[in-house]
């Protein structure tokens, strides 16, 4: 609409006005001394008893119950849980609120890949103030290292996303497809399935930065190297090429459904057998249960396919932390809520609801490993997923401006999916765009 467009532009201009308040800070975020502990556990408990209001921005579905339980335990605390879209949509809203200086939540869900960007811009607070260091050993090593920047701790791990193969058993059985153990098997299964039913694909992909980086991670590629503000980006390494070799073959033979992830068509395709499997993080089961009700009982979990038979290497895909914003007026109370949600009763309640925990206590519990998932046909899926969590390949890091990099991923790599180039060319374009941005933002790019 003409009017709407004009109004939208006006709105954009007005929000620019609001940004004024947040400008002018020239802190470069390179100081690496962790904050001293000034707030004790007793102070946190006192704040919880005293009560107050908290605003929490998160999209993780299992938090709804956590918030309800929390308010029963601490009746004087009022938690306002707001879903502001997931992933990038929320980061956009959060960054805008922080720039504007108003409407910033006390606690925000931030994925591991995005946390360093928020830490660098001083949007989230160093939890050493609250003695978060004492939580060493509480969380599984992967997620716990993901919330660290040097000795600083910017979030508490909420869940973790070791990758696994989710597949539609009904479709696999119907076309006589065995669970692929290696990527070679997987490519063969992709061809067999699509040949048997041209309306079914082994999986869908139309270019997803998070998926790509996780796949390169598993294949042994380490395209990003970050040392403070010195960054190197290189997608020509052998690990990356291993993955692009496999995936380019699937694209060339049109063996991937051209359905963008998380779209309506994607959910529909997962439900009706059009998309027969997903290689995705262990946090997927609750999403399948709530988004793909039609396929209840049909899906199963298997280990992620391997590059060499007999290996057990996995990588992380997604997974989020909860962080306290620097702008929060109620940081101690916010930390109290976060601890409840990620370590105390909340961790158990979220695990019971189907989330994949990042806490060692929950992941090692017999009740967790033996839990049967009705949606997954009664499978004890956590046996597979816990093993995946234990086998995450070490040494990966994301860019300190990964949120930006992911937002422009499809500009260059998208061409590989529409027939205008190869994945390797696309990744080179992505590397160049990320390099240019990094330089403009003052990073040293090597």
């Amino acid at each position: 609409m003409r009017m709407t467009r004009r109004r939208a532009l006006l709105g954009a201009a007005m929000s620019l006005t609001l940004l004024a308040a947040g400008c002018g800070s020239s802190d470069d975020g390179t100081d690496s001394t962790p904050a001293k502990t000034t707030v004790s556990d007793a102070d946190v408990e006192a704040a919880l008893q005293a009560g107050g209001n908290l605003t929490v921005w998160a999209w993780e579905p299992t938090l709804t119950k956590v918030v309800a339980d929390f308010q029963i335990k601490y009746p004087k605390v009022k938690v306002n849980l707001i879903k502001n879209g997931s992933g990038n949509d929320q980061y956009t809203a959060l960054q805008n609120a922080i720039k504007a200086g108003t409407g910033v939540p006390d606690v925000a869900q931030i994925e591991y890949y995005a946390l360093s960007q928020f830490a660098l811009s001083k949007a989230v607070t160093d939890l050493n103030t609250f003695g978060a260091k004492s939580l060493d050993g509480t969380f599984t090593p992967g997620p716990w290292s993901s919330v660290h920047a040097g000795d600083k701790i910017y979030g508490l791990p909420m869940d973790s996303g070791p990758m696994a193969l989710f597949y539609n058993k009904e479709v696999f059985d119907k076309y006589g497809i065995a669970i692929p153990k290696t990527w070679e098997d997987y490519a063969a299964a992709a061809a067999k399935l699509h040949q048997a039913n041209p309306k079914a694909w082994i999986t869908s992909d139309s270019g997803d930065a998070g998926f790509t980086t996780s796949m390169i991670w598993q294949a042994g590629g380490r395209p990003y190297k970050v040392d403070g503000t010195t960054v190197s980006i290189n997608f020509a390494d052998p690990g990356t090429q291993k993955w692009t070799g496999l995936w380019q073959g699937l694209i060339d033979k049109k063996l991937l459904a051209p359905i963008p992830g998380w779209s309506d068509a994607w959910y529909k395709g997962l439900g009706d057998g059009t998309i027969a499997s997903l290689v995705i993080g262990a946090w997927m089961p609750p999403n399948l249960e709530s988004g793909v009700k039609a396929a209840s009982g049909k899906w199963r979990v298997a280990p992620m396919p391997q590059w060499a038979a007999g290996e057990k290497v996995t990588s992380e895909n997604g997974g989020s932390s909860l962080a306290v914003t620097e702008a929060s007026q109620n940081k101690t109370l916010a930390y109290g809520f976060m601890k409840y949600a990620t370590v105390a009763e909340g961790a158990q309640s979220r695990t019971d609801e189907g989330a994949f925990p990042a806490t060692t206590a929950q992941i090692n519990a017999d009740a967790f490993k033996n839990k049967e998932f009705p949606y997954l046909g009664g499978q004890k899926a956590n046996e597979v997923l816990a093993e995946a969590a234990a086998n995450v390949a070490p040494g990966w890091s994301y860019l300190p401006f990964q949120v930006f990099a992911n937002s422009v991923y499809n500009d260059s790599v998208g061409k590989a999916y529409t027939g205008g180039g190869t994945l390797q060319d696309g990744l080179k374009g992505w590397q160049d765009a990320s390099t240019k941005y990094g330089q403009e933002q003052g990073f040293t790019i090597q």
Partner: protein, 288 residues
């Protein structure tokens, strides 16, 4: 005397206050922002005209400008011609159910752009949409409207659907104020319908056509809602620098480059004013 002039100011003061707050202030602030640069490492510094130099040499910005220019050259004439033909048809008095026609063609304008785009997006879908159904019913393979080479045309189709009725109403209203005695006189002189259109109706539409052209130029340069909504189902066809407004938006929300985003907005505003001015100047010269 001074007293009287103050009373005048008091009457327009509420308007001026709102105008300054919601119109002038954001423009001034954008211009101010465009002179600075904020880095993640290094903070904010004054850079003078550097952002403008960068914009003038930014291939992504010019690719966006090129895309909306192409859109303008193709979509606007098609839409206005359609609107003109429909307005003439309804005004001719020979159409059965003219009131129904008028309302139903105008109705899409009442549909919010986001809803309209979602709706068309469903139809464009070659996996689960109308395109798939058509392919199955007729055993054909239609080209995918959301492919990179067709997506601009697909958006043109949506905006045409949205705005034909709006432009038609403006043109039709202008036709309604033509003195009917002119038509009678023309008929007595033996003029046919097409002669009447050429000699009476089209000259009467000169002003309204200029207005609708202006609105359409501005609308084309501001193209934003449709690409943003379609990107969720066509992530590889719609780039983050698809249109200038999209680019400015991406720069600020995706890249936190508020200063450069403001620069792009200012340059695009000036460019829009320039084109609108040239079109108007040309139209006025022709009229004289």
């Amino acid at each position: 005397m001074t007293r009287r002039s103050w009373i005048g100011w008091q009457f327009v003061a509420p308007f001026l206050a709102v105008f300054a707050l919601v119109f002038l202030a954001p423009i001034a602030y954008s211009a101010y922002l465009s002179l600075y640069r904020t880095k993640l490492i290094g903070g904010t510094s004054f850079v003078g005209a550097q952002n403008y130099t960068k914009a003038l040499h930014d291939p992504q910005f010019w690719s966006a400008v090129g895309r909306v220019s192409l859109f303008l050259i193709v979509q606007v004439p098609i839409m206005l011609l359609l609107a003109l033909l429909i307005a003439l048809a309804i005004d001719s008095g020979r159409l059965y159910g003219a009131a129904f026609f008028r309302i139903s063609i105008f109705l899409p304008y009442a549909v919010p752009a986001v809803v309209a785009t979602l709706m068309w997006g469903f139809m464009y879908g070659s996996q689960f949409g109308l395109i798939r159904n058509l392919n199955e019913w007729f055993g054909v393979t239609l080209p995918d409207p959301l492919a990179p080479n067709l997506v601009l045309a697909a958006i043109g189709n949506i905006t045409t659907w949205e705005f034909v009725g709006y432009n038609m109403i403006i043109l039709y209203a202008a036709l309604r104020v033509v003195d009917p005695s002119l038509y009678e006189a023309a008929a007595i002189d033996g003029a046919g319908q097409f002669r009447i259109i050429r000699a009476i109706k089209l000259p009467a539409l000169r002003g309204p056509l200029l207005i609708t052209t202006m609105f359409s130029i501005i609308g084309s340069f501001q193209l934003f809602t449709e690409p943003v909504v379609l990107r969720t189902i066509a992530p590889n066809a719609i780039l983050t620098y698809f249109t200038p407004n999209y680019y400015a938006w991406q720069l600020s929300v995706g890249g936190q480059q508020f200063n450069y985003s403001a620069t792009v907005a200012v340059v695009m505003g000036l460019l829009t004013m320039l084109v609108a001015y040239l079109v108007q100047a040309r139209a006025v010269r022709k009229a004289v």
